[in-house]
Amino acid sequence: MAFRGGDDTYTMEPKDTIQDRVRARDAAMRLLNRLTAGAAVSAVVGVGLLGAIGALTIPGTASTAATTTSTATSSTSSSSSSGLQASSSPVSSSSSSGVAVSGGS
């Protein structure tokens, strides 16, 4: 607490205590700023780091698409290598089931 008498200011607490409080408050404000900045930097780094870990554990769409493409290519090549024999059998089975249905109706 402080009060004024003329040009002088009188305090009821020792000046050291007030100075200490001001210093402690400034130190705490600096700590708050440092912690906030540290949290912001950590969060930005965290997004990159966790994204990278996520990419390593579960790869993204590009590699999935590449896998699908390679599978499709290999299946195409295998079907073409097997030639007419592979494609003729499903056609005959479907036509036979079609006859069975029409006969039933």
């Binding site: 408050r25 705490a28 997004v47 994204g51 996520g54 990419a55």
Partner: protein, 195 residues
């Protein structure tokens, strides 16, 4: 921009948002408990709580924007605004939308606390206790990495921290010796301002 980069950013920003939100909840509980020491005054807890809450909104915005603009997901902006309107994992994504909107309400009412009054602000602020579990459930239900060891560990740490702080809060009760007098005074001020 590369689709996969957007997807990784969505996942990373989601995990970081959960960590930040958990830290905000823990700091909020510590501020209510009036935790302090000579090197850690009480206003530091409140200040850090406020700054991290604003930071959470920023990373949550990054999480949502990257998820919506990612052409692979086709989520659309409506799913980010209206809960349970997404075609993809409707329920779990809806929980995330609700959590975001609750957090937005909590932060916005905190910024205009002087205008809406103490009682209204406190009532809205209690929604944080609903927002955080919704966010955790959203991560578990929707997250691509939900059952990956690293994210599971991260989520477990967040859950344990918040549950420990909440339990301590319930056991310790109010640390404010003038809590009753203060709240009745603030309620009386609110009533007078409404007249």
């Amino acid at each position: 921009m590369n689709d996969t980069l957007l997807w990784y950013t969505t996942r990373g920003a989601g995990a970081v948002s959960l960590v930040l939100l958990s830290a905000v909840v823990v700091l909020g509980i510590l501020s209510v408990l009036r935790v302090q020491s000579p090197s850690w005054p009480r206003f530091l807890t409140v200040g850090l709580h406020r700054n991290l809450a604003l930071m959470t909104l920023v990373f949550l915005a990054l999480h949502i924007v990257t998820a919506v603009v990612d052409p692979f997901t086709h989520l659309g902006w409506l799913a980010a605004v209206i809960p349970f309107s997404s075609y993809y994992r409707t329920f779990w994504l809806g929980l995330g939308t609700i959590a975001f909107e609750l957090l937005l309400a909590v932060v916005l009412t905190s910024l205009v606390r002087g205008l809406i009054g103490q009682v209204a602000w406190r009532l809205v602020h209690w929604l944080t206790y609903a927002c955080w579990p919704f966010a955790v459930l959203h991560g578990v239900g929707t997250g691509t990495d939900a059952w990956s060891a690293w994210l599971f560990t991260l989520q477990a740490i967040c859950v344990v921290a918040v549950l420990a702080a909440t339990g301590y809060r319930l056991l310790a009760g109010s640390r404010d010796p003038l809590a009753r007098e203060r709240s009745s005074f603030l309620a009386a001020v609110d009533r007078r301002e409404q007249r």
